[in-house]
């Protein structure tokens, strides 16, 4: 009974995270804000739905594979976000910041 409500809570949380990601991808004005939404909310929604499926499945080899998928998403998605933001900075999207240590390493390389 209480396990059923926990599963419903995690599924609903994942759906809210995914809807937040989709709205933020079409509404945010800047590339870095879009990348911020697409790297954190997305992984939150995925991990919430996978946790719901693990609780529904119980301890089994299938549940272990879902846990492996969670660890894989936690490792790879920050790497993808960092690579895309670094590529955008090297491409020339520079926003106004108070302190910018990468600027003199990338652009003032004379």
């Amino acid at each position: 009974m209480i396990v059923d409500w926990i599963i419903r809570f995690f599924l609903f949380s994942g759906m809210v995270f995914f809807l937040t990601t989709a709205i933020a991808l079409i509404r945010f004005p800047d590339f870095y804000s879009r990348m911020h939404a697409a790297s954190k909310c997305l992984i939150g929604g995925g991990i919430s739905i996978l946790i719901a499926l693990i609780i529904q499945e119980g301890p089994s080899p299938l549940s272990f594979r879902l846990l492996l998928l969670i660890v894989f998403l936690l490792i790879t998605n920050p790497v993808v976000g960092h690579a895309l933001s670094r590529a955008s900075y090297h491409y020339g999207h520079v926003i106004k910041m108070t302190r910018d240590d990468l600027h003199e390493r990338v652009f003032d390389n004379d």
Binding site: A22, L25, L42, G45, G46
Partner: protein
């Protein structure tokens, strides 16, 4: 809340973020949208595996995640180079 509703809702969210893939002002915007849609479809694949009671779909989702990771990294490395200057850095 059954699993079919969750599958249809996640597909709807991926259709909403397909807008950024069509109308991205920069190629890196399109790459970010492709990464988001790919992870949403990976979750849809896992949910379909839970709905049809097929354990094979989880393995397909793992391999799909690995291919998506390598794909996005190669595209970011390829499209991120034009801002770099022409001289060779060590």
């Amino acid at each position: 809340m059954n699993l079919e509703f969750v599958i249809i809702f996640v597909l709807f969210c991926s259709m909403i973020s397909f807008y950024r893939l069509i109308k991205g002002p920069h190629p890196l915007d399109r790459i970010a949208a492709v990464s988001a849609i790919g992870i949403m479809l990976l979750i849809v694949l896992v949910l379909l595996g839970a709905h049809f009671n097929r354990a094979l779909f989880i393995d397909v989702a793992l391999v799909y995640g690995v291919l998506l990771f390598i794909d996005v990294l190669v595209m970011a490395k390829y499209f991120g180079t034009p801002g770099r200057h022409e001289e060779e850095e060590s």
